[in-house]
């Protein structure tokens, strides 16, 4: 098969620190090539070199037999290389159709025509997105769909997908994979970056694995299995930690019923939802996107308000509570660790210490009117050590951290508030396997210490591995509860869908 792009001995360094070291990588025409590695392994940097987002410090790139060096993404796009970014690069204040045609506008644009053609194009991809909707009103999954549609729309011969499925539901993933296969059939070459190893094994033709910026393995997909991939990615095997089957006898028994939610409603998103949360136990909540699981717990945490009329009851220690702002919930010991860490989880240009101390201030720190820098540093050092947050130095800004470490900062920011109930929403989304294992350890430790822990996740193996009880959410309410010992993916999915 013809090699369409080849990188030879590529190195890319940021401020002298190499993110990618002497990597040789080739992409063949019409293949799906999975690029795997932990966060910070250099996957995104490598693909950014291909897509002209960053320039390689050394090494060469050969495209169609010619040595090239794209200076801008536009240049790469013109040469047929498109990249779908992990963080969507859409303009929030523009409509879906406008985003789709951004940069390809005509001198005179007829808005109606743009919408019609965008509608036809989105339908051809099986993406249920309204072209007239403002991007800022879309959920993460739909934003991702628009991003993918934009890349496909440019008729690129190489499309690089960076974590394309992280926010998609299983159903949406199926559509996405069908789309990728259609693109492949048309001769488009795909680079597919994912943390979901099963997806890489299922869809790709070849796999390349990076660790600490270096290429550690590359070959045909049939030569790999999950064990081999994990071992190559992290240098040790984690399968037993991440994908263990739970034994009924080892499940934590429910402690005191700390939270009783009865028939809470919020518009048509949360509908008469009832459940209880117990201390000393991890309650896993599974549901498809749109099932109301996040919204339910945001109501519990005071981020959203439940319906004023007949909105149900929330009882904390048998006393009814109604929070109008999250601060009241935090003071009562209910902490919500967001699924969207980039926009809700932290202040990205502030340091780890400032972020963690911010959590303390939000909880009503008694000396909030004056910030003691020494206290802040001490607190940061304590939590950085406890959560094993790895950064270049103590003053590192959160934006400079890898996804896993960013997530740990968000967790630390919540835990510093000394909660009794911790709600983790997609705690390992966009986090590599090594960090996933660490985050799982933190979550397990909290439950062992007697806290009531809720883990919302759309990743079934995570739910089945972590939870002591599994609640399934559908159409705005909890419809079923499973014990992890008896639950199967089929049973959970049936409950989530029907």
């Amino acid at each position: 098969m013809e090699t369409i792009v080849r990188l030879e001995g590529v190195t890319k360094a940021y401020r002298g620190v190499p993110a990618v070291k002497n990597v040789t990588f080739d992409l063949r025409k019409g293949e799906i090539h999975a690029l795997l590695g932990e966060n910070g392994a250099g996957k995104s940097t490598l693909t950014k070199v291909i897509a002209g987002v960053v320039e390689a410090t050394s090494g060469t790139m050969i495209h169609h037999g010619q040595e090239v060096s794209y200076k801008t993404p536009n240049e790469a796009l013109e040469a047929g290389i498109a990249m779908v970014f992990q963080e969507t690069s859409l303009v929030p204040s523009m409509t879906v159709a406008q985003n789709l045609y951004l940069g390809a506008e005509k001198f005179l644009n007829r808005l109606r025509g743009t919408y019609i053609s965008a509608q036809q194009f989105l339908q051809s991809l099986n993406f249920p997105v309204d072209p007239t909707a403002m991007v800022e009103t879309l959920g993460a999954a739909k934003k991702q769909m628009v991003e993918i549609a934009r890349a496909v729309h440019h008729n690129a011969e190489i499309i690089i997908f960076d974590e394309p499925t992280a926010t998609l539901t299983p159903e949406e993933k199926r559509h996405f994979f069908a789309l990728v296969r259609r693109l492949k059939a048309r001769g488009v070459s795909i680079v597919f970056i994912s943390h979901a190893l099963e997806e890489a094994l299922m869809i790709s033709d070849r796999i390349t694995i990076l660790r600490d910026g270096e290429l550690v393995a590359s070959g045909e997909t049939r030569e790999f299995d999950r064990e081999k991939i994990i071992a190559a990615m992290v240098g040790r095997t984690l399968s037993a930690e991440l994908y263990r089957q739970r034994d009924e006898a080892k499940l934590r028994k429910p402690g005191h019923k700390v939270l009783s939610v009865q028939d809470i409603s919020m518009s048509n998103i949360v509908r008469n939802n009832s459940f209880s949360i117990f201390e000393g136990q991890i309650t896993g909540v599974f549901g498809l996107i749109g099932s109301g699981r996040t919204e339910t717990f945001k109501v519990v945490a005071g981020i959203y308000k439940r319906d004023f009329n007949r909105g149900g009851t929330i009882e904390l220690d048998d006393k009814p509570v109604r929070y109008y702002v999250p601060r009241e919930a935090v003071k009562d010991g209910i902490v919500y660790v967001t699924e969207d860490r980039k926009s809700e989880g932290f202040f990205e240009t502030m340091s780890i210490a400032e972020n963690i101390f911010g959590g303390l201030l939000a909880a009503g720190h008694e000396k909030a009117w004056v910030i003691n820098a020494a206290e802040m540093r001490a607190l940061s050092a304590e939590w950085t050590k406890m959560l094993n947050i790895r950064a270049i130095n103590d003053n590192a800004r959160v934006v400079e951290l890898s996804g896993g470490n960013q997530q740990k900062v968000v967790i630390g920011k919540g835990l510093v508030q000394r909660p009794r109930v911790v709600i983790f929403d997609e705690p390992t989304r966009g986090v590599d396997v090594g960090a996933i294992a660490e985050i799982h350890q933190i979550i397990n430790r909290l439950a062992d210490e007697g806290l009531a822990v809720v883990v919302i996740s759309s990743y079934l193996p995570e739910i089945m591995n972590l939870s002591d009880r599994i609640l399934v959410c559908r159409q705005g309410r909890i419809v079923e509860e499973f014990s992890p010992a008896e639950a199967t993916e089929e049973k959970i999915m049936y409950a989530a869908v029907h």
């Binding site: 028939d263 007949r310 009814p320 609640l471 419809v479 079923e480 049936y494 029907h498």
Partner: protein, 351 residues
């Protein structure tokens, strides 16, 4: 938050049903259980001289393993409650409101006409639950739909004499359990258990039950078995709030098709709540809303729930009205499932 109770008066209070979790976490233990005996509308269970007896229709049966139920005693109308005295004497209440002890009819105050439960205290005093002042026991659905609260509890001392009312204004008392300083009563329509002491003032010991509680019986470890004969569900709770609709329904719709709890369901397509809400792709969803359910709860000595046994929406052992324990085996009467079940308690508890 402080104003909520006042605001609720104007905006309407939300219909809240306690979720089936914690000690009430659903399982299939009743459906998985061994059928000890097939008995049409098996209702009240008790032990007499070590033998299990059960009421069914107009008779009381003795039940032994691997044999057909044998009639112990027959009556002119359906039996609604039974109890065995410490001396082994059988007390039987009938649908007509009559009470027989040792085969002889006992004179009762005229206010007693709906005996739903009988229990002897350790001292030989007999306590009875009078479910409603208006309806017979079989018309319990009508009492619920009328939001009846005319039930009462009566006591006759061991020495004999008249029955004396010890509590009134109860919403269908359906189970009794003697305790040192009085009696614990299950109040079905208010989904709670009350302790009625010497003072006569009822005190709630557990409330917000997820179903309608029926009979109580002692466990061998000092705890209590509580049977719940039907589930609470949102639609029924809603109908209970809609007075005009409810009255029209009672006036115009046959009782079997009321939007009301039932001892069994799913046998007629005329029942409310059918189609996709119940069954999808050929699978009867266990979590679907159901008018009937089977639920037996083990309470500890302080009457707090420990664990429970279920027959869910897709099960058949519904309408659990009574459960009794002997030698590590729990016997459950499934009135809706026409059977008496035998369950090894250690296995059910997960020990």
């Amino acid at each position: 938050m402080i104003l909520d109770p006042i605001l609720d008066y104007f905006r309407g209070k939300a219909v809240t049903i306690p979720p089936l979790d914690g000690a009430f976490r659903p399982n299939t233990r009743l459906d998985d259980a061994h059928a000890f005996a097939a008995l049409t509308e098996a209702d009240n269970l008790a032990f007499r001289s070590g033998t299990l007896i059960a009421s069914s229709g107009n008779a009381v049966y003795t039940l032994t393993a691997d044999t057909e139920p044998a009639v112990l005693e027959s009556f002119p109308s359906p039996v609604t409650a039974l109890a065995v005295s410490p001396a082994g004497e059988l007390a039987v209440a009938l649908e007509t409101g009559k009470l027989f002890i040792g085969g002889k009819e006992v004179a009762l105050p005229s206010a007693i006409r709906c005996i739903t439960a009988l229990v002897y205290g350790a001292d030989g005093a007999l306590v009875l639950a009078n479910g409603s002042a208006k309806h017979a026991p079989s018309a319990w659905a009508a009492d619920l739909m009328e939001k009846g609260a005319s039930g009462s509890v009566w006591k006759r001392e061991a020495a004999g004499g008249e029955f004396r009312e010890i509590a009134s204004g109860l919403a269908f008392p359906y189970g009794l359990h003697p305790v040192a300083d009085g009696v614990v009563v299950s109040e079905s329509w208010r989904h709670r258990l009350l302790r009625i002491g010497g003072s006569g003032t009822p005190k709630t010991v557990i409330d917000k039950l997820p179903g309608y509680p029926a009979r109580l019986s002692p466990a061998e470890d000092g705890g209590v078995w509580l049977s719940l004969f039907a589930p609470r569900n949102r639609l029924i709770e809603f109908v209970l709030q809609e007075t005009h609709y409810r009255l029209d329904m009672m006036a115009e719709v046959p009782r079997d098709s009321w939007i009301a709890p039932a001892l069994s369901s799913g046998r007629s397509f005329l029942e409310p709540l059918q189609c996709g809400g119940i069954r999808t792709m050929g699978i009867h969803k266990p979590w679907s809303p159901s008018r009937s359910y089977g639920l037996v709860v083990k309470l500890d000595a302080s009457l707090q729930p420990l664990f429970s046994l279920h027959s869910r929406a897709n099960g058949t052992r519904h309408g659990t009205t009574s459960a009794v324990e002997k030698d590590g085996t729990l016997y459950v009467a499934s009135k809706g499932g026409d059977s008496v079940l035998a369950i090894d308690i250690a296995t059910a508890e997960g020990r």
